[in-house]
Each structure stands twice: as structure tokens, then as C-alpha cells.
Amino acid sequence: MKQKDWKVHVLALVMVAIAEYIGIKRFQLGPGTVLLLPMLYALVMGMFLPLLKLVNRIDMETASPYIGLSVMFLTAKMGTTIGPNLGKVISAGPALLLQELGNLGTIFFALPVAVLVFKMGREAIGAAFSISREGSLAIVADVYGLDSPEGQGVMGAYITGTLFGAVFNGLMVGLIISLGLFHPYSLAMAAGTGSASMMTAALGPVLTAYPAMEAELSAFAATSQLLTSVDGLYMSLFVGIPATEWLYRKLKGKKADSATNEEVVS
């Protein structure tokens, strides 16, 4: 494996070079600013590699653990944006800590729609308990297995997030800013939800709207992001998944157990 993975790294280098060359593109769409980032281009290029026969199954498996390792640089960089603003972060500490619970809010919002409107089966549990980032994949793999309905749910939502998450968040946050309901601090904290691309896309319109507060807004977002990446795993495992299971049973009523198979097929 050691020798063979050079192909993966060379491909990554070429993809990064092209993506960075294209650069950041932004344009207005309604009230929101759409921010197209080089990381999105890199991902889209990746999707074409199998069609061009440039990667095979083994390359895909090889590249998979490198995602988690390369993320560590990002983590270190975020830490160094928090340090200089530590005073502000600590004074906003209670809000930063408690808003982490908001990440569970999605369960009561997304799961009922998935189950009652879309008539989804147990895939809904995998898709709705979180925003389905790498940590959620790991949890579902551990609890249900990735080949289970729950596993397919989290995988589908993961791909959705990776493909459309940044663009969607950029638009959504642009819209929310224009409502004027939230203080920029609250928006910055909410931007840190555990995904680097989504955080960047969500924070982009906030920084554009409030350029004078850039340093502290970035620090709040980075802190919230780091908190989520640290506590998210435990919150999901001990609170998120059990709460989702419970709500799923309530929503499905008696059908909860028998409904799974037929709905996977449909």
C-alpha cells in the first residue's frame, strides 16, 4: 500500500492545484450570497475520476482514511484563531456551550418530515439525527453498520452535505441574516456545526454583512466548530441516536418494526 498510494496523492495535488487556480467565486442569489469554494471544485472533480477510469475501488479505499488525517491541519489552524480571542470566547462561554444542544434540534425538525411526509423507513434515523458529517458516519457504522438502512440514510445525507452543503448553507444564512432576527454573534456560533465547508460557507455571508467584527465572529465560529467536533460524537451517541430512535417509534406507531423492509424497497 505504501508505494501504491502515490497515485492518490498525485491526483489530490493536481485536483488542489486546479481548484485553487479557479479560486473563490461569489455571486448574489436573492438575499443570499452564493460562495463557491475551491474545496467544492475538488470534490466535484473527484466524482468524475471513476468515469475517466482514473481511480479504482482500491484507490478509493486508500484515500478514505486520509480525509481524517488531513482534517487535523484544519483543526490546528482553527485553534490558532481561537487563542488570540480567548478572552471574548470565555465571556461568551455559556452561550457557546449551550448552543451545542441546538444541534439536536434537527431531530425534531427533520425526522417528522422524513417519516410522515416522505414516508421513509429506518434510513430516516441515519439521515435525520445529525448533519451527517464524518463523525456521524463513524457512529452509525459502529451502532448499525453502514450496510443497514440507517447506514444508507447517513451515507446519502453525508454525500448530500458534501456536495450541496456549502452552497445550501451560504444561501440559507444569507436569507436568515436578511430577516434581522439574530445578533451576528449568534449567527457565527450557529455556523460552527461540525463541517469545515459548511462552516466556511455559513460564516461567509455573516462576515460580509458585519466586516468590522471579523476577528471575534471567526473565533466564535471556530470555537463552536471545535466544540461540535469534540462533543458531537458523545452527544450523538448518548443523546442524539436514542432520542431519534424514540421519536421514530412514536411517529411510526405500531408499524415501527414491520415497516422497515417494504419501505426500503419502495
Partner: protein, 148 residues
């Protein structure tokens, strides 16, 4: 994964990021090398700590804690860390992550195609729910604690 294997990937990722940092943000790689080395050291120490520590926490918990401490004003060397890491753009570090994700994504596409629009819409709802849930709580607590 053994540390030597992980270290090799860290160095390669660092090099790719330096090149991306140059192409995308016109920052001379020579000027960005000290910052990248600082990040590399933080990553390696954090990674090793998570391996040897009796408290089982993910590497990112250690890495972020180290990075915060190293950049708090007043800590010896913090000025140096802030100045040099500033030469490495956050976004330039994101792109290699998504490049590796892009290379590996093919293995998940079949499952995705089978599920279609419902899963996409459900995922969008989780983004809305998570953002608004967090923003509402943050707003209330910031008001209650007098920060805003």
C-alpha cells in the same frame, strides 16, 4: 494507523496545502513554510498524545487544545505562532481534505443514487434545524448573560 504512516500523510498533506496556498492565495511557499511547520508540530504532538494518553479522546481534541494554548497572547512564542500560521490560509487547508474525499466518494455513489430526492431534502432539513436551533439558543443565552 502507525505514527510513521500517519506522519508521512501529514507531510504530504502539508506540501499539497503549501502549493494550494500559493496558487489560490499568492502566498510565497517559503513565507508559509514556518507556519505550516508549526501546524505540523501541533498535529503530530496532538496525534501522539491521543495514542498514549490514558484518557481516550479523539486526536482533534488534543490538537485543538494545543493550538489554542500556543496562540494565547502572553504564552511564550504565541506572537510567532500567530504571525506565521497567519500565512497559511484556512481555505487552503480545506481543499486537500475535499480532494481526498472526492477520490474516495465513488464508493458511496451507488447507495446515494438509490435514495434520490428524499434523502437530499431530509439532509437539507437537518442543516436548517441545526443552524436555527443553535442560533436561537445562542441568542437567548447571550441576551441572558448580557453579552449582547
Amino acid at each position: 494507523m502507525k505514527f510513521s504512516d500517519a506522519f508521512r500523510i501529514f507531510v504530504i498533506t502539508g506540501l499539497i496545502s503549501l502549493i494550494g496556498n500559493f496558487i489560490g492565495f499568492k502566498i510565497n511557499p517559503v513565507a508559509a513554510i514556518p507556519g505550516m511547520l508549526i501546524l505540523l508540530v501541533l498535529v503530530c504532538i496532538g496525534y501522539l498524545l491521543s495514542k498514549v494518553s490514558p484518557v481516550k479522546l479523539p486526536s482533534i481534541a488534543y490538537i485543538s487544545a494545543l493550538a489554542i494554548i500556543a496562540s494565547v497572547p502572553g504564552v511564550p512564542g504565541a506572537e510567532y505562532v500567530i504571525k506565521h500560521v497567519g500565512q497559511v490560509q484556512f481555505l487552503a487547508l480545506c481543499t486537500p481534505v475535499l480532494a481526498y474525499a472526492g477520490i474516495s466518494i465513488g464508493k458511496d455513489m451507488e447507495a446515494f443514487k438509490k435514495q434520490g430526492a428524499k434523502i437530499v431534502l431530509t439532509a437539507f432539513l437537518t442543516f436548517i434545524g441545526t443552524f436555527i436551533g443553535s442560533a436561537v439558543i445562542a441568542q437567548i443565552i447571550l441576551k441572558l448573560t448580557g453579552v449582547i
